[in-house]
Symmetry: C2
């Protein structure tokens, strides 16, 4: 506990999402111990009042709740289960909240390891992007025990708006996979719709405007549709990360015995975008894959 009675929070992974989330926690009066592979964001947050942890283990030794916000499953395995990892330093009764988007099976394995060390664990991936992280309006999808969820809820409320305990350990990651499936497929749908308008000689901006008023309305049509019209593919959320998430989707579907053809198509499209050099662009850059053949070449 910090002197103000709030739990001390360890925060590991200060990327595009993690850094603004850590900032929102500090603004609400939480004491933070932070760690990141690259030193830059650590120095920034230390200037604003955080302490630096020298390793994930060191962070865990000083924290009541450890939050991880990392790119992929292997990163979480390394940072939590690896040498000098969170598990080596975790205090009995402390809680690990993994907010990364990773495979449900890995989330369950990590949670089991934490519980074996007498810790508590939640998987709590988010949706809402950099904007949601900065404005503390993230959707948070949580898997784990009810009492652990209840204890961590005030922290979640500092980070987001729509916070749901979806089920047991791993359920947050299942919900996130469902989320990424919908988001990825909807981006492709919006890209094709705007490309169709343009190819048929109709102003895609007007099409977006009228579609926003009917059944085609979505946050993706609104935000990512505008990015497509502007040709502005600064991330946001990188295509290569969405490719990774679509792999999680298709693997999870396969493991569950489900055919998900639109999910498979979206993975295919992101792979095409990444392979053609667009991996660092915003995921809305799927629009750039769609080019009408000129009349001459048809």
């Amino acid at each position: 506990m910090a002197p103000n009675g709030k739990p001390v929070i360890g925060f590991i992974g200060l990327g595009i999402m993690g850094k603004p989330m850590a900032r929102n926690l500090m603004k609400t009066g939480y004491s933070l111990v932070v760690h990141n592979r690259g030193r830059g964001p650590v120095d920034e947050l230390v200037k604003e009042g955080a302490r630096a942890g020298s390793s994930p283990k060191d962070v865990a030794q000083q924290s009541d709740v450890v939050i991880t916000m990392l790119p992929d499953s292997p990163d979480v395995e390394e940072v939590v289960l690896g040498k000098d990892g969170v598990l080596e330093g975790l205090r009995p009764g402390a809680t690990l909240v993994d907010m990364s988007t990773i495979k449900p099976a890995v989330a369950r394995r990590v949670a089991e390891a934490v519980v074996k060390k007498l810790g508590k664990a939640l998987d709590a991936p988010v949706s809402g992007g950099e904007k949601g992280a900065t404005e503390a309006t993230l959707s948070i999808m949580v898997g784990g025990p009810q009492d652990v969820f209840d204890a961590v809820l005030p922290i979640f409320q500092t980070l987001g708006k729509n916070i749901v305990l979806v089920g047991d350990s791993g359920a947050g990651q299942i919900a996130k996979a469902a989320n990424q499936l919908v988001v990825g497929v909807t981006i492709e749908a919006v890209a094709e719709a705007l490309a169709l308008a343009e190819a048929a000689g109709v102003d895609p901006a007007k099409v977006r405007a009228v579609l926003l008023g009917g059944f085609a309305q979505s946050k993706i049509l609104d935000m990512h549709g505008q990015r497509m019209l502007d040709g502005n593919f600064v991330p946001g959320f990188k295509a290569k990360l969405h490719q990774k998430d679509m792999r999680i989707v298709t693997e999870t579907a396969q493991e569950s015995g489900l055919d998900a053809p639109a999910g498979a198509l979206a993975l295919d499209r992101f792979t095409k975008l990444v392979d053609s050099g667009g991996g660092e662009k915003d995921h809305s850059a799927l629009r750039t894959l769609l080019k009408a053949k000129s009349a001459a070449t048809r």
Copy 2:
């Protein structure tokens, strides 16, 4: 002109959409002359104050503005261009507003025929379904000349909320094709996401709830997602009509030299649903195509 100074409106096609639209026009004080293939809805509206036209030609002879709301391209061609059709009765200077969802090329051909007869024409398909038709909150996508649009705008405002002149003749149908592409693909995405949750042992209702707060938000997730959870596939909008619309989408894409793989997939899914006997169900019944194989058969 009717005695109240408002144009007399002919309304042809009193189906799931047309009937409530005609009612909204009557409520606002328009005089209506109505026609429908089946006599039932005509009798209903006559009881409420409409006149019955004996044929599309007869309707046109009595009207300043003729609205058609029909299932498919051949219906519009027959009702407008065929024997005893609108064109035979259309007064010089009168306006045909086709609000059906049909092929852009047919829309342009019909408009040209009307203009040749010294009439005016708009294509003005809608989105928003039976609910939007009843509550007068339809999105209306209009193609045609600005001055004709301006003259008809008060009528549109009686039927919908988000009304956009998208471009020249046929542009409304292009926008509608874009709309149906987004709607069809999004339904498949939502169906796969909820099926994935269920197959992986997570409550799909909770997944829908948390997804509604993030980037996955859409009107489809909200309304059609709820239908899927309820297993309520009473139309709404029939799958066989969405199949027809997805054919228009893929044909229009092809004619424009565009590959639209998600659009093609959605056509494929609707065809599968229709072929397995689900054509009369709501389009959200795409959910019923997704069944996880049991562990034993994997």
